[in-house]
Subunit: 351 residues, 2 copies
């Protein structure tokens, strides 16, 4: 029974630091590609046995200290009535993007148990299969990030429809964000009911906003989700490209702040204190030779001192990553952080 | 004779703040689209009369305080022997990307006067047509950013070939960066010879690196270019998504630091002192109603106090921007900063 990850989330002193990898269930694994060859992406998400199987693969192959549910952050938007299409190469698209108040009227507040039941079934299967070996993390996008995709109709270079709306009719956009927050809260609560032992909130596009606008636009619906989940399981917040938001994030009441690779954890630590941090090796560093990966893990462990630290990458693992490099990363984090604890006292000694 | 922009670059106290717009010659202007309907993008770049015409359009239509040469940052790479293709929709691609030392061997150090003569011809035409009305800015990509495109073969989501190379064989990548720096220096020097009165260096992808790696990889070839141009004309450096690089940039000997929209100028000012800053309205703010644009310009002017300030956006103008909004931005910057100077003393009073 390895509950190291959960104890680190709660800020407890641990005998070594836990490690997992964002997007650890995915394309870099031959075992994942073998499953994907037989079904398309949405079918994989919606078939609990298959979603559970790929969720478990990295636990078995890499020996990570947590599983994370295999799913897509856009699924709750589909449940709200937005048609979602995955086209190979192009990624996810919403053929009818929501770009104004009339678009909001087309959305519904779904009964998540029914429309997203396959997610909860997958979670229950994962819990049963894991039988306590490691915890399982559920996840969702933040309202701002989900809205970004829904308004643009998919990924975007400049997110100009979203940003135009934010300047021209902020109250209208806030209504969309509220609707998304409502469904997100129901969806994430049901993930906990189905067995998720922690939740990570992905704010992939939060970094588009300066701190003042992040506080005005992105934070209120996010705070509503966080407040609705408070006290149930540990919450992890991840923002990409958000170095400029550090001060704003200090007030967000989540247990763990996941940090991208752009700034050293020691710098984040200096501003945010002993809060548990997660991250943040550059995903591209896993393309380096193994001794270089190990050297960088040692530096990362040094930078993470002074408070809780869950080792991870600073962004999703790249599909071109060799599996043995991912394994070396996990092994080095586990081995070196145990030495660290032994040689220099508990990892959180500075708290 | 409006040399306000050049005086602001040199850190002189000015009667009002100059303003121009990144990508001011471009798709949002019907007059530009009329030219582009007749020729493809590369032909436009390589026909001095047409490049000069679109360079001048925003001076006449918006009343900006500087012209910036119409060109593409990738042109010197083509001159180095890398085949460059612009496909509508996909943007620029290099069908034979350079991904290792054998690729470097295919590149040449071009005689820029010959292979890029059309750029210098356009600059000479622009200078003649402007006849001193406003200065003209030349520009180029930084070696790191140019290498990013050349290694990936175009734009990229994760730049994994570039980053993989940077970890696996940093010395090999440094050789490529040196080769690009050498050609960039020749190209930018020749722009000055042809009449460019200032130069902006675009580091579009510098923000992919953390500060330590930026100093190790991106800075040496950039410093070589900057040193080679020092003292000739004012140099402006722009990095996108580089909030985490602020301390590293403090030591870069350029006259002007152009700042993206993510952090307020007042914060940059607090760390970098009286150095002239350029920027940094969110380009999407030009999609707001005009009174909101004017309100945000007033805030921007306030945030820019305490040193030199050239008003601009924090990234290129969006193609969907209404021309009258761009005009309102320029007019507000000119009107409100003159009031500022009158009411509250010179804009640089705090120096």
């Amino acid at each position: 029974m390895n509950d190291l990850f959960l104890r680190a989330c709660r800020g407890e002193v641990t005998e070594r630091r836990p490690v997992w990898i964002m997007r650890q269930a995915g394309r870099y694994l031959p075992e994942y590609r073998a499953v994907r060859e037989k079904v398309d992406f949405l079918t994989l998400c919606k078939t609990p046995e298959l979603a559970a199987r790929v969720t478990l693969q990295p636990v078995e192959i890499l020996g990570v200290d947590a599983a994370i549910l295999f799913a897509d952050i856009l699924l709750p938007l589909e449940a709200m009535g937005a048609e979602l299409v995955f086209t190979p190469g192009d990624g996810p698209t919403f053929p009818r993007p929501v770009r104004g108040r009339e678009g909001i009227a087309r959305l519904r507040a779904p009964a998540v148990e029914e429309s997203l039941g396959y997610v909860f079934d997958a979670l229950r299967l994962v819990r049963r299969e894991l039988a306590g070996r490691v915890p399982v993390i559920g996840f969702g996008g933040t309202p701002w990030t989900l809205a970004a995709y829904l308004v643009e109709g998919g990924g975007s270079r400049h997110f100009e429809h979203l940003l135009a709306w934010s300047y021209a009719d902020p109250a209208g956009l806030a209504e969309l964000l509220d609707r998304i927050a409502e469904t997100s809260l129901a969806y994430l609560s049901a993930q906990i009911d189905a067995g998720a032992q922690a939740l990570q909130l992905f704010d992939t596009w939060g970094g588009l906003l300066d701190a003042e606008r992040w506080r005005a636009l992105a934070l209120p619906p996010l705070a509503r989700v966080v407040a609705g989940l408070a006290g149930r399981v540990p919450l992890i917040y991840y923002v990409n490209g958000g170095s400029h938001l550090l001060e704003a994030l200090a007030d967000l009441p989540v247990d763990v702040l996941a940090v991208d690779w752009r700034q050293p954890l020691s710098r984040v630590r200096a501003r945010l204190g002993t809060r548990t941090l997660q991250g943040n090796l550059d995903p591209a560093a896993l393309l380096a030779p193994v001794p270089e990966i190990e050297r960088r893990v040692a530096t990362l462990l040094e930078q993470g001192r002074g408070g809780g630290h869950i080792v991870n990458l600073g962004h999703g693992i790249l599909p071109v990553t060799p599996v043995e490099h991912a394994r070396a990363f996990v092994a080095a984090a586990q081995r070196l952080s145990a030495q660290h604890a032994t040689e220099a006292g508990p990892a959180h000694a500075a708290r």
